[in-house]
């Protein structure tokens, strides 16, 4: 288990489903959602939050600033 535990929130209405966060995530927390948002994209979804290490890579790569990153303390 990783020492640092993180938590991310994704604004799915803002997301355009480009997948840059999925590509950047080192622990594969994020996947495309099966549902659609109102723009018609499959937004990113934080499916495996227990793996999150709060590295912030997804936040750095997100071109639409949809992601907020927290660290569990």
């Amino acid at each position: 288990m990783p020492k640092v535990k993180g938590y991310i929130e994704i604004d799915q209405e803002r997301c355009k489903g480009c997948g840059l966060c999925i590509n950047a995530c080192p622990t594969k927390v994020i996947e495309f959602s099966e549902g659609f948002n109102s723009k018609g994209y499959h937004p990113a979804e934080a499916k495996y939050l227990d793996r999150c290490i709060a590295c912030g890579f997804c936040y750095r790569m997100c071109p639409d600033v949809c992601i907020t990153v927290y660290r569990e303390e």
Binding site: G6, Y7, R14, K16, G17, C18, G19, L20, N23, A24, Y41, A54, C55, G56, F57, Y59, R60, M61, C62, P63, D64, V65, I67, T68, V69, Y70, R71, E72, E73
Partner: protein, 250 residues
């Protein structure tokens, strides 16, 4: 207890970006906003938006600003800075704006050493108008106006703005970066910060050229567009810091 690490910077208005999925404009917008937040100059900063995909940049940034005529952002910024030297002015321009119709403005603003900052997004194509050849288009690259690939005999060679501008005496900071990995994003943020510091310290003109993808007009998905950028664009446009008179970040 949850400790907040990263969230949308205050210098962004929160309005949804109008860019295509996977476009690097959004990343660079966020970096500029983060730098302005860190320097604590949001209330004293003006943005000059260009013509191109980022034409609405003044709506996305939470600060005052205007749009300049195509390519004329450095000229408008010069006027703003000279009228209000107490404020900080930056222009945000694409390659069709800065390297084509606005070449004269950027060359002379840099040569005069205007105390302004320019963020230059180079994606080797005209994005907003539908993927025509830009001066920065690579040789052999297919666009809507070069359907058989750019030919040096007919269309000339790709334009290297950093290499041109580095000879100008008024330039205080000049760097070329990319934002394809989180590490590169951090490097770009440092470069943008220095370009702003060049203005804040009153040394001269600062510019950061960011190699960026245009998945829609390149006809690729966002991930393969980043791969293409690494493989094709980086060898043509070598990354690095060309001029640095700013010195230490403090």
């Amino acid at each position: 207890m949850r400790k907040l690490l990263y969230k949308m910077p205050e210098s962004l208005s929160g309005k949804e970006f109008t860019y295509c999925p996977g476009c690097h404009h959004g990343i660079v917008h966020r970096l500029v906003a983060e730098v302005i937040d860190e320097l604590g100059i949001r209330e004293k900063t003006l943005v000059v938006a260009p013509i191109g995909c980022s034409v609405f940049a003044y709506q996305f940034f939470n600060m005052d600003g205007t749009i300049a005529a195509h390519g004329r952002a450095p000229a408008v910024a010069t006027g703003m800075k000279r009228a209000r030297p107490d404020l900080y002015v930056f222009t945000y321009q694409g390659d069709g704006d800065l390297a084509a119709i606005g070449t004269a403005e950027i060359m002379h603003a840099a040569n005069r050493g205007e105390k302004i900052t320019t963020i230059f997004i180079n994606n080797a194509i005209y994005g907003m108008t539908g993927g025509q050849m830009a001066p920065t288009t690579l040789l052999g690259m297919k666009t809507t106006t070069t359907p058989y690939g750019r030919d040096a005999q007919k269309d000339g060679y790709p334009m290297h703005m950093c290499e041109f501008l580095k000879e100008a005496k008024g330039v205080a900071y000049l760097a070329r970066t990319k934002v394809t990995t989180p590490q590169d994003v951090e490097k770009t943020k440092k470069a943008i910060k220095k370009a702003f510091l060049a203005q804040i310290k009153g040394i001269g003109f600062g510019m950061v050229e960011v190699l960026s993808t245009c998945p829609t007009n390149w006809g690729m998905d966002p991930i393969s567009a980043m791969k293409w950028l690494e493989e094709k664009m980086v060898p043509e446009y070598p990354l690095g810091i060309f001029v640095d008179k700013v010195g230490d970040e403090k």
